[in-house]
């Protein structure tokens, strides 16, 4: 298909349809209303089904039912709505259901505000629900990447039989950029038939049961160990990360994800014109987090700046990656305030004073 | 004798009062207020029967009613 100028939310919806998803269950919330709205008019056109759920709790449990039936399905919401899905997400992870959930993050806590934020990082990556489980978390920084990652999300969900979370912020959802959907795209993972799905049993196999209950603790522990092995496999095989401005040597490394990383890249471009030597590394998968890559990139620098639209959440993963080998600085904005390139540049410049960054 | 007082800046120009007035003595003005709305005005104060329907209708409490002397209420509110 030709390039089209699309809102992030619409591109996400279209990407799901391109990925063969024909089911959407969701509940309105700003700043992602354009996703359910888009699905409500597009799905019927392609023989799909759109259901406006009575709540996010219901939507996430409809996801459970549809996912357990072996169909591709997704839902989207924003921060408070995602919090209401935590029990169901834990159930879906425990029952190993392949579903896709999009969180267009807004500022919190509580009702907070509707402007962009990245303050749901912990919830997404460490598991906001109960029990030992992990969601694979993808964080796009452009509308095109959002469209691409959403399609991959369905393949990854099917491959691992695990919920995949696409973590965007209000900017991604609301901005328009050119998007291209390649026709005849091949899945990013080999896909097996869903013989485990509960779709009726003619007796030729034992009944399929979608379930996370194990009354026998030994069985449940085996199940936990099995899940852990799956998460370890993700850590081994699914890390995605992008590096910028790292061709030449650099003194300082910026770590950022999502649209904020674009703000940082612009800031760095300006600084480099002024002779400052700064590079950027952008985690694309937040779980699994690119610990090794960030460590390696950081060791080429004298110090590291983490930029987030939060009080500092991803920075803990950066600390885990660096183990104190480099000083880590932080620049964050909250409440829906956006970090501008100038602010980030200013922060980086101020660190020059700390002598950690040298002029070329 | 009843008198209608419309607060021009509270008015959002919704015109509901104009429709509510049984005497048709309210009208929209041609000026715009601070909020950028054409606001309502009383065209013929004298014909007001003091029914308070415009006051009750106004979603923005932009209409006050004052009466000099006592006056008969068509309905309790």
């Amino acid at each position: 298909m030709a390039k089209k100028l699309m809102k992030g939310c619409e591109a996400i919806g279209e990407a799901a349809i391109q990925a063969g998803c024909r089911l959407f269950f969701g509940y309105p919330i700003t700043p992602q209303n354009e996703i359910p709205e888009y699905m409500s008019h597009r799905l019927p056109q392609v023989g799909g089904t759109f259901v406006q759920a009575e709540s996010e709790v219901a939507a996430s449990n409809m996801l459970y039912g549809a996912g357990g039936s072996g169909e591709r399905v997704f839902t989207s919401s924003s921060s408070p709505g995602i919090s209401l899905m935590m029990e169901a997400v834990s159930y879906m992870a425990g029952s190993e259901l392949p579903v896709v959930i999009v969180n267009i993050m807004r500022a919190g806590p509580g009702l907070g505000g509707i402007l962009p934020s990245q303050a749901d990082y912990f919830q997404a990556t460490k598991g906001g629900g109960h029990g030992d489980y992990r969601c694979l978390v993808l964080a796009p920084w452009s509308v095109q990447e959002a469209a691409d990652l959403v399609q991959d999300a369905f393949d990854l969900a099917d491959y691992y039989r695990n919920p995949v979370l696409v973590l965007g912020d209000g900017l991604i959802g609301q901005m328009m950029e050119p998007v291209e959907f390649k026709s005849g795209r091949t899945p990013c993972k080999p896909l097996a038939p869903k013989s485990w799905a509960a779709t009726g049993c003619d007796g030729s196999r034992p009944t399929n049961i979608v379930n996370s209950l194990f009354l026998d603790p030994e069985k449940l522990e085996q199940h936990n160990v099995k899940l852990k092995a799956k998460y370890d496999a993700m850590v081994r095989d699914e890390v995605r990360v992008a590096s910028y401005f790292d061709d030449a040597d650099y003194d300082m490394l910026v770590v950022a994800y999502g649209t904020v990383a674009r703000v940082c890249s612009t800031a760095i471009e300006d600084l480099r014109e002024q002779g400052l030597r700064v590079a950027l590394i952008r985690p694309i998968t937040l779980f699994p987090f690119p610990y090794a890559q960030v460590r390696a990139a950081a060791e080429r620098a004298r110090s590291v700046l983490v930029v987030e639209l939060s009080c500092g959440q991803m920075i803990e993963d950066v600390q885990l990656a660096l183990e104190g080998t480099r000083p880590i600085h932080f620049y964050g904005r909250q409440g829906g305030m956006l970090a501008s390139p100038d602010e980030v540049a200013e922060k980086l410049r101020s660190l020059v004073a700390t002598r950690e960054v040298r002029h070329a | 004798m009843s008198q209608i007082v419309i607060d021009r800046d509270l008015c959002k120009g919704c015109e509901l009062c104009v429709h509510a007035c049984p005497q048709g003595i309210l009208a929209m003005g041609r000026e715009i207020n601070a909020k950028g709305y054409f606001f309502a005005r009383v065209a013929e104060q004298k014909r007001c029967i003091g029914c308070r329907l415009c006051c009750i209708t106004c979603p923005d409490v932009a209409i006050q009613m004052r009466v000099s002397g006592t006056m008969y209420h068509y309905f309790s509110y």
């Binding site: 100028l5 700043p31 452009s142 900017l171 901005m175 328009m176 950029e177 674009r262 | -």
Partner: protein
């Protein structure tokens, strides 16, 4: 090379639309673009704006704190964005609604009597097209061909509108070009 502009005005003035048209035109010219609307509290009325970036390389920050151009369709927008304009940038003022002068001395100021012009052309709803033209005329952020073709598409449904808006657009472009091109972005 990068062009970026903040277009701002009342809800009803169609500023989001001309922003999108600008982005589309940029695409036609084969450049990278981004369009970012202000999405405020879910509340009615008030002003709105959008930021359009047109660049040769992939767009970095879609958020532009100090834009190379500002197109102010009403007074609140001028008050808010004039101070943010880059030195040497272009400031377009809808002089039909804004009756104060620019305060910045370090930018190119272009007064666009968008509403009058549109009315003269008997196309009162075309004020935003005049303004869009003026911006393009002053900055050549996008090619005239691209934007004209786009107007054709946008109003394809109503051929009469196509003509009317093209005229408005061209008048705007002329207005934009008339002026000293010093320091245009």
């Amino acid at each position: 090379m990068q062009n970026d502009v903040i277009i701002a005005g009342f809800g009803g003035q169609g500023v989001l639309l001309i922003g999108k048209m600008l982005a589309y035109a940029g695409m036609r010219d084969g450049r990278e673009v981004s369009w970012l609307p202000s999405y405020g509290p879910e509340m009615r009325g008030g002003t709105c704006n959008c930021t359009v970036v047109i660049a040769d390389r992939p767009v970095g920050s879609p958020v532009v704190q100090h834009p190379r151009a500002v197109l102010a369709m009403n007074l609140p927008s001028l008050d808010k964005f004039e101070p943010l304009l880059r030195a040497g940038g272009v400031l377009l003022i809808n002089s039909s609604l804004i009756h104060r002068d620019a305060q910045r001395g370090d930018v190119t100021v272009i007064k666009v009597p968008a509403t009058e012009v549109a009315n003269q052309l008997g196309n009162p709803r075309g004020a935003n097209m005049v303004a869009l033209g003026a911006y393009i005329g002053a900055t050549s952020a996008v090619s005239v061909e691209a934007v004209e073709a786009l107007v054709g598409e946008t109003f394809a449904a109503k051929p009469k509108l196509v003509e009317a808006n093209l005229t408005a657009l061209r008048r705007g472009i002329a207005i934009g070009q008339e002026l000293p091109r010093k320091g245009a972005a």
